[in-house]
């Protein structure tokens, strides 16, 4: 059994003593975590606790940061991803990511979705169209932009843009969905729509949601990991089912944090 795994739960993503350094700065130290499949796992903690670095380590996006060094192990569906054999592009297809600020490419709604599909080998027109339809329906954008697939994506509203980004990621048929504070740049209405989406997706994807919004974590999460900055390094304080962490935290700092006393 992997460390800290809640008993009786299968494991989708396994972190073992994961450490992420940027030069001399340690963003995350020795985090061991077993994230269960087809559930929403929220990663919470104050800013600077290494939440985003942890997330970027799971799809190796951290590779793009100059000077970043990752040690420890990350296994997805049992496969180690930090070795020379990993096809990074394929890994990122399987492990999709949505960012804090909506970042659709400055091109049409349709091209936003098909660009990556073509890259991953989907060429047939009908198949491309079918996928575009399916994912836009899934995120509820079809009704809103449906007739105008050639509409420039950056003219959509912020919430629509973020849902387009989710649709773009879903088009690649990923197994894991990483979300880095996806609602922090959005208004409450758009936030509600995205939370609704995530609730529907929980059966289909393994969702890892980084958020600094504890209320959101309470609303959505099945499991919660609490990160904390201790002596300038991000560390895992506590991990478990959401109800346990919120109702009966084991750690003094967690208790203070979830009751709003600190953080």
């Amino acid at each position: 059994m992997s460390p800290d795994a809640p008993p009786g739960i299968r494991v989708a993503i396994e972190l073992e003593r994961l450490t992420v350094r940027y030069g001399p700065v340690v963003a995350v130290r020795d985090v061991s975590l077993a994230i269960p499949p087809c559930r929403i796992t929220a990663v919470v903690g104050p800013s600077g606790s290494g939440k985003s670095s942890l997330l970027a380590a799971i799809n190796r996006l951290v590779d793009l940061v100059p000077g970043a060094v990752v040690s420890g192990r990350v296994r997805i569906a049992g496969q180690e991803i930090y070795n020379g054999l990993t096809d990074v592009d394929e890994l990122r297809r399987r492990v999709a990511m949505v960012f804090q600020r909506p970042n659709p490419f400055p091109m049409s709604v349709r091209r936003n979705i098909t660009l990556a599909l073509r890259e991953h080998g989907v060429r047939r027109r009908e198949l491309l169209e079918a996928i575009v339809h399916r994912v836009l329906h899934d995120v509820g954008l079809w009704e809103e932009v449906g007739g105008r697939l050639d509409y420039p994506a950056h003219k959509l509203s912020g919430g629509q843009q973020q849902r387009l980004c989710i649709a773009r990621a879903m088009a690649l048929d990923p197994e894991v969905l990483l979300l880095d504070e996806p609602c922090s740049a959005l208004d409450p209405l758009s936030t509600a729509k995205i939370e609704e989406l995530l609730r529907r997706f929980r059966e289909r994807y393994t969702v890892v949601l980084v958020t600094h919004n504890l209320a959101q974590a309470r609303r959505l999460a099945d499991y919660v990991a609490v990160l904390w900055q201790i002596e300038g390094e991000g560390r895992l304080l506590e991990f478990g089912p959401a109800s346990d962490v919120f109702e009966n935290p084991q750690h003094e700092l967690t208790r203070a944090y979830v009751t709003g006393l600190t953080g």
């Binding site: 799809n59 996006l61 793009l64 100059p66 990074v88 592009d89 394929e90 890994l91 990122r92 297809r93 999709a96 990511m97 960012f99 600020r101 970042n103 490419f105 400055p106 091109m107 660009l115 990556a116 890259e119 991953h120 980004c165 773009r168 990621a169 690649l172």
Partner: protein, 286 residues
């Protein structure tokens, strides 16, 4: 309180007025200088310019005739310069902005290109003469002149293009990487379309720089005012023509003014085109 905080002489209203007058005077002086310059070229050259002047060959050492062959030679020199420096310049800029942003090698390359930017144009002429004309045996030719200018405008091209590429926000590169797009696809489909106006602006600026150059051309592309038949012929660029008429041809002043006016008008056209692209680029990025 009031007594101790008495105003020094430098805080008096008179000095404020003097300071205001000084800065307005500076601006006024520079504007007047430009007006005098442009007005001078315009009034002296406007009467000379005609379709005939733009298309006919110079005769009597330039005292009569037009600048047709000069314009052709200028175009050829510019074409050689931009066609050779563009691929190298854009390639280097792409490498600096996309592949080696903060690396040690990138810093060295940037430093070397900056040094090249500081070389006086007459020294480019010396280098072009020694390298292209003599060492490569190209002689006084359009090719020698164009290649010399290519070396000269390269730093400008690299710097502006790199800035344009860097102005494309990183979030797009991150998003593309998170979708598993290759670097080539990311560059061609996501980064490049946003950087095109900036690259165009850089290209136009470099062309303008090449068009206004004289010193680097005198000893590389030469003085021959006949219609060039090939790239290996000598060709007289328009700026060289102005210089030659003013300095070496008594009675050539009128035609010199005409050629100078054509040169200034061409440059103004290029600059306004650049401004157009630059504005579009800025509005695109922000």
């Amino acid at each position: 309180m009031n007594g101790r905080l008495s105003k020094g002489w430098w805080m008096s209203a008179g000095w404020d007025t003097a300071g205001t007058a000084f800065v307005w005077g500076c601006a006024l002086a520079a504007t007047l200088a430009l007006a005098w310059l442009i007005g001078g070229v315009l009034s002296a050259g406007a009467g000379v310019i005609s379709w005939e002047f733009l298309t006919s060959e110079p005769s009597d050492a330039g005292r009569a005739g037009g600048i047709g062959t000069i314009l052709v030679a200028t175009c050829w020199i510019l074409a050689v310069a931009s066609m050779t420096s563009l691929p190298v310049g854009i390639g280097a800029a792409v490498w600096l902005a996309e592949c080696n942003r903060d690396g040690q090698l990138g810093r060295w390359v940037r430093g070397a290109v900056d040094l090249l930017a500081g070389v006086p144009s007459i020294v480019f002429g010396l280098f072009g003469n020694a390298f292209f004309c003599q060492f490569l045996g190209l002689g006084y030719s359009i090719l020698s002149g164009g290649l010399t200018l290519a070396v000269m405008i390269l730093p400008l091209l690299v710097r502006v293009s790199e800035q344009g590429l860097r102005a494309v926000p990183d979030q797009y590169r991150m998003a593309a990487a998170a979708l598993g797009l290759s670097r080539t696809t990311t560059f061609l489909h996501v980064v490049l379309p946003q950087a095109v106006p900036a690259l165009l602006a850089g290209f136009l600026l470099a062309t303008a720089r090449a068009l206004s150059e004289t010193a680097a051309l005198i000893f590389t592309s030469g003085y021959v005012a006949r219609m060039p038949r090939s790239l290996f012929d000598s060709g007289r660029a328009i700026s060289v023509h102005v210089y030659d008429l003013v300095m070496h041809v008594p009675g050539g002043e009128r035609r010199a003014a005409g050629a100078a006016l054509v040169l200034v008008l061409l440059l103004l056209a290029i600059h306004s085109l650049t401004n157009l692209f630059a504005r579009q680029w800025l509005s695109h990025v922000t």
